[in-house]
């Protein structure tokens, strides 16, 4: 799929909580077909210490409105600047970048697992799976009840299992502690979240022989396979997260 550099217009900047916000961007050109798991590289203007673009997962796509949504966590000066964007302002992005989650066999019992900012690509993935006739379930984990992101949006896709680290809502603990993983065997798992969480999910899936794909968020400079900074060690050697990923099958990863 041809990559583009386009100026998008901020339609909405919606605060989720103190750390998260959602940018809804409207394209000047018609959107190409986008796939869940793909990401964009966002140029951050007026933030002198932000040198590189910021890679952000595609959180949601609305082809009728010609919009892309990005779920962003304030992690530093660049994302803080993005959090201040106002409707009507311009955001330059390079997109679509990276591969995508693969479509499991028909009628597969699919679980999407996400933690914190890692839920970002799972909304797009969940909606995509649902529109293709799947009935995915979703297991999401957050630090506490105040940090839960878009619960209702996920609930509209399928059954949601929830954990919080402090037990303030849902089951207490990490996603991998959730009882559903002991009581039910899913056919297929797709996962995105902190590396420690994805490694724990890898452990669970490997032990139970469940096919699993994870979406990595390695540090990168370019996003299109040139700088070779974002590599992950795989059975095929070092591969770039930006073009060979961000979605990898756990059986290929040596992490």
């Amino acid at each position: 799929m041809a990559k583009r550099i386009d100026d998008f217009i901020i339609k909405e900047n919606r605060k989720i909580n103190n750390d998260f916000f959602i940018l809804e961007l409207s394209g000047n050109n018609y959107l190409p077909v986008l796939k869940p798991g793909q990401f964009v590289q966002v140029k951050v203007e007026d933030s002198p210490e932000t040198f590189l673009r910021r890679p952000l997962s595609i959180h949601d796509v609305d082809y009728d409105k010609n919009t892309i949504s990005l779920l962003v966590q304030i992690a530093g000066k660049g994302t803080r600047r993005l959090s201040k964007l106002k409707p009507g302002e311009i955001l330059n992005i390079i997109y679509p970048l990276g591969n995508s989650f693969s479509l499991p066999p028909e009628n597969s019992d699919i679980l999407l697992i996400g933690g914190g900012c890692g839920v970002a690509p799972l909304l797009f993935l969940g909606k995509y799976l649902k529109s293709n006739g799947y009935k995915p379930s979703i297991l999401i984990g957050f630090r506490n009840s105040d940090r839960i992101i878009e619960y209702d949006e996920y609930a509209a896709i399928g059954k949601v299992y929830l954990t919080t680290e402090d037990g303030s809502r849902g089951e207490k603990g990490f996603v991998t502690d959730h009882s559903v993983l002991k009581e039910h065997r899913f056919d297929n798992i797709s996962c995105c979240g902190p590396a420690s969480m994805m490694k724990a999910v890898d452990g669970y899936c490997s032990a139970n022989g469940i096919p699993c794909e994870v979406s990595l968020e390695n540090l990168m400079a370019c996003g299109f396979g040139v700088c070779l900074c974002c590599v992950v060690s795989t059975v095929s050697g070092n591969l770039c997260t930006c073009i060979d990923g961000p979605v990898f099958n756990i059986k290929d990863l040596k992490w």
């Binding site: 990559k3 583009r4 140029k43 040198f51 390695n218 400079a221 370019c222 299109f224 040139v226 590599v231």
Partner: protein, 303 residues
Amino acid sequence: MVNLGFSIGKLRFKNPVITASGTFGYGSEFDDFIDVSVLGGIILKGTTMEPREGNAYPRMSETPAGMLNAVGLQNKGIDFFEKNIYPKVSGYDTNVIVNINGSYIEDYIALAERVNKLDKIPAIELNISCPNVKMGGMAFGTNPDSAREVIKEVRKVYSKILIVKLSPNVTNIVDFARIAEEEGADSVSLINTLLGMSVNIKTMKPSLSTITGGLSGPAVKPVALRMVWQVARAVQIPVIGLGGIMSTNDAIEFFLAGASAIEVGTASFIDPQISVKIIDGISDYLADKGFSDIRDITGLINR
């Protein structure tokens, strides 16, 4: 109409904007964004005799006005290059230049011999300045004796245009430029990255797996410009300037300081179209200033 063309030895460049090794892949990564053939030249990702996996992740750390990298010359080796990459890059209507690297002097010689046989590669950039490999690389380019030896030996076997890429991590870069010229290099390119480091205070560990890495981006531009100015006044061969060039204005500074051409590096990560924009920008600048030829402003501040 302004003339942007220039030559290194007998090799003609349609314009003085070249993409820097390690920041432009093998060209095809940019096909969606630009017509690569519009460029004066492209310098391909550093190539070695054997495949290299490069350094462990993390390999990159953003800095104010720049970035540190510690990629460590990840590439699939010269055999793969000849078989799989050379046929593709041969289609570009621009000067396709191979950046060669080695751990031992024999590696450089063998690579130069191999690349010398490739019809569509009119030049090599001899990389004696990579800061991110344990053996070779910068070790050759920071010692005058070994720099002289590797350039001399490569010159013996390489009959086309030889560009030597110099390290800024030396006391006096002019000495190395003079050595390159004395040993028959056709041009020098400078600067490679500046050795730097960064510590992550959250994890209380170095930001890079290798602890130190190469700094690039606008942070290094004043240093690069100073070195280009020094070298351009000391040698007769054309000087290719690079280091933190993000815009036309940055490029113009290098020409005025003595560069015959420039390389665009890290900037391509942020704007993959920047190299082409700079070509257009140089034309506009020359026209605006009433010059008709890029060579008229090369080293203008030194006249």
